[in-house]
């Protein structure tokens, strides 16, 4: 089916992808320069999944994510400022600078957040979706997970509960070919295999080629409409590719050819594909977006560099939510 979205919609999808690419490229630079440290899992090359899916959502829909979640956050509307500040562990970060790359949370835009436990965010989304339906809205929740997460027990259980209790939840599987050093083909079979498993559970499930952000968006939009209308869960497998090593410190040359990711990107980059298309449909506009985003990210890095580091006392805040329990630590009562 040929894409039906307009060039202007396409440009917005492009903007979303480029924002993630620019932020993650900046993070890589800061890492290499020794300005930041800690985990960092790049979604370079697979930005189309977050962009295409999140463009089908409202700000009141909820998204949960995984360790490779910068794109999910940015596509859902978290600012580059808040993401970069969190990576720099500064107080104006999404989590006050206490979580960094794998712990982005911004409720104000419906980005409920990442989790560093593979599969951990999946039941969260199901529970939120169910509660939203109960509250009488037609808002939904979406969980993003990697292919690796779909070997996890809690994934199967979450689908079971979401189906049984009719939670309006979209489970997105970003099949990027790898779960760290484990090839997906070896674990599950060719693309679409996970979709077939889910379909066999009686859940609406589709898979889509993630190299075309428009196809992702259209497929996601249809599923989102189905979920809102029926009040039931659905599943989307988005076939992308992990271009970078698993994490910034991962020796991926031990399990795949050194330039494997680069070669894939040269031939399949979804951003390049969109740019070629947009240069025909809306000449000059893509380059304009590139410049705008460069500027946004440049400033965000500056503000992150200049931001305030939390004080030691901040480590003891918000352990508990209840009044009277907000005290900490070892038991030092006299």
């Amino acid at each position: 089916m040929p894409p039906t979205i307009t060039p202007h919609q396409h440009l917005e999808l492009y903007r979303s992808m480029v924002l993630t690419r620019a932020v993650e490229t900046a993070i890589e630079r800061s890492h290499r320069a020794g300005r930041i440290s800690g985990s960092f899992h790049s979604s370079l090359g697979q930005e189309s999944c977050a962009a295409g899916v999140c463009a089908a959502l409202r700000s009141t829909d909820a998204v949960t994510s995984n360790h490779r979640g910068h794109g999910h956050a940015l596509a859902k509307g978290v600012t580059a400022d808040a993401v970069l500040a969190e990576l720099y562990k500064k107080t104006h970060g999404t989590s006050g600078g206490r979580g960094a790359s794998m712990h982005l949370h911004d409720r104000s835009v419906g980005f409920y957040g990442e989790t560093a436990i593979v599969g951990g965010g999946i039941p969260w989304a199901a529970g939120v979706a169910w509660a939203k339906k109960r509250a009488g809205t037609d808002d939904i929740a979406v969980s993003f997970g990697g292919d690796g997460a779909f070997a996890n027990g809690v994934f199967g259980e979450s689908l079971r509960l979401a189906k049984f209790w009719e939670a309006p939840c979209l489970f997105v599987c970003e099949n990027n070919g790898w779960a760290h050093s484990m090839p997906v083909e070896k674990m599950f079979g060719p693309p679409g295999s996970i979709t077939a498993m889910v379909r066999a559970m009686g859940i609406q499930a589709e898979h889509v080629d993630g190299r075309d952000v428009r196809a992702v968006h259209e497929c996601a939009s249809e599923l989102v409409q189905y979920i809102r209308r029926e009040g039931r869960p659905a599943f989307l497998e988005c076939v992308v590719y992990r271009v970078r090593a698993h994490s910034i410190n991962d020796a991926d040359y031990r399990y795949r050819p050194k330039d494997d990711g680069r070669q894939w990107l040269d031939a399949n980059d979804p951003i390049e594909a969109s740019r070629r298309e947009l240069d025909r449909a809306l000449p000059g506009r893509a380059a304009e977006v590139d410049r705008e985003i460069d500027e946004i990210v440049r400033r965000a890095v500056e503000r992150a560099e200049a931001g305030r580091t939390p004080t030691p006392a901040d480590a003891f805040k918000t352990v508990y939510a209840s009044e009277g329990l907000e005290w900490h630590g070892s038991v030092e009562v006299r």
């Binding site: 909820a62 999404t94 989590s95 006050g96 206490r98 979580g99 712990h103 949370h105 911004d106 409720r107 409920y112 957040g113 989790t115 436990i117 951990g120 999946i122 039941p123 969260w124 989304a125 199901a126 529970g127 939120v128 169910w130 509660a131 939203k132 109960r134 509250a135 027990g153 809690v154 259980e157 979450s158 079971r160 509960l161 049984f164 209790w165 939670a167 805040k317 918000t318 352990v319 508990y320 939510a321 209840s322 009277g324 329990l325 005290w327 900490h328 038991v331 030092e332 009562v333 006299r334």
Partner: protein, 325 residues
């Protein structure tokens, strides 16, 4: 006011909270049609319907995450884990998510959920249905750990737990469910998560919680026959830990024993003992005693089981030795 057994008191608390707050829902295996394997939720499905008393597929891991997730969205789920031993399957969601999401999100999300955990030995259910796991949870920042010992406390602590904005691990000892009932006052009860002095005494203090509280009272009564007067403190909550009440008691008696059903090694009672050894050093006139379970799986049968966990007799022996010190 009504005379209620422990199980009935929890049911009454659930009933009253559900009547007052539509966001309170029950989830768990067999909680609806059957009314719970220990009858705690019996009849609630008739009153509140399957929308609020939700029989769950056997999927503890996702259930914990689902309930905690719904809690971040404003629901107040009370989840029953049929036997506390099965909570292992839910640990990731409870420890890595429910306990920490408030902190990880810098206060943006909270998890006002209660996890009901029928636990403890004494019912011949064997090593995978009889553990006392409360120490694990008392160790985890972000969790509240409740362990009532009387019907009245079961009622009031459940109501208090449901109203908290943090996840509560609510330990219910299976042996207590159907023991003698007591008057439960529905209009007023203890608040503020403090420990309770169950018996006043002058010569030594014994601290415990849950089922062990009753055993300590028994042991204290026997000790009286030897002329020693033992104060019995029931902690009620293992976090927050009301050490002020313990300190006040020990300042009076100068001697402290800690009794708990969990494995003695590394258990919550050890924490109180270690704390007292330093903070109450000048008040103490004897070594701090601990009576906990041996580091052995819980076997079936009275002869084996009583060899492993504290009993009124072993508690009494320890208290007598301490009293004579």
């Amino acid at each position: 006011m009504a005379v209620l057994k422990f199980a009935e008191a929890i049911r009454a608390a659930l009933d009253h909270e559900m009547a007052e707050d539509p966001s309170v829902v029950l989830m768990g295996e067999e909680v609806g049609a059957l009314g719970g394997v220990f009858t705690v939720t019996k009849g609630l499905i008739d009153k509140y319907g399957p929308e609020r008393v939700m029989d769950s597929p056997i999927a503890e891991g996702a259930l914990a995450g689902f309930a905690a997730g719904a809690a971040t969205e404003g629901m107040r789920p009370v989840v029953e884990i049929m036997f506390s031993d099965f909570v292992m399957l839910a640990m990731d969601q409870l420890i890595n998510f429910a306990a920490k999401i408030h902190y990880m999100s810098n206060g943006q999300f909270s998890v006002p959920a209660v996890v009901r955990l029928p636990g403890g030995a004494g019912t011949n259910h064997g090593p995978q249905h009889s553990q006392a796991l409360e120490s694990w949870f008392a160790q985890t920042p972000g969790l509240v750990v409740a362990m009532p010992s009387t019907p009245s406390d079961a009622y009031w602590m459940m109501r208090e737990s449901i109203r908290l904005d943090d996840p509560v691990m609510f330990f219910e000892n299976k042996n207590l469910y159907f023991t003698a009932g007591e008057d439960v006052d529905f209009t007023e009860g203890p608040r503020g998560m403090r420990a309770a002095v169950r018996r006043e005494g002058a010569d030594l203090t014994v601290v415990s919680a849950g089922r062990m509280s009753g055993m300590c009272l028994e042991a204290a009564a026997t000790l009286e026959e030897s002329g020693y007067s033992c104060e019995v403190v029931d902690m009620r909550y293992l976090w927050p830990l009301d050490l002020e009440t313990v300190a006040a008691s020990v300042k009076k008696t100068s001697k402290l024993a800690v009794v708990y059903e969990a494995v003695q090694y590394g258990g919550w009672g050890s924490e109180i003992a270690a704390w007292a050894a330093r903070e109450l050093f000048t008040d103490l006139d004897g070594p701090v005693h601990r009576v906990g379970a041996h580091r052995v799986p819980i076997p079936v049968g009275v002869s084996l089981e009583e060899a492993v966990i504290p009993t009124p007799a072993t508690i009494h022996a320890s208290l007598l030795e301490l009293a004579k010190f």
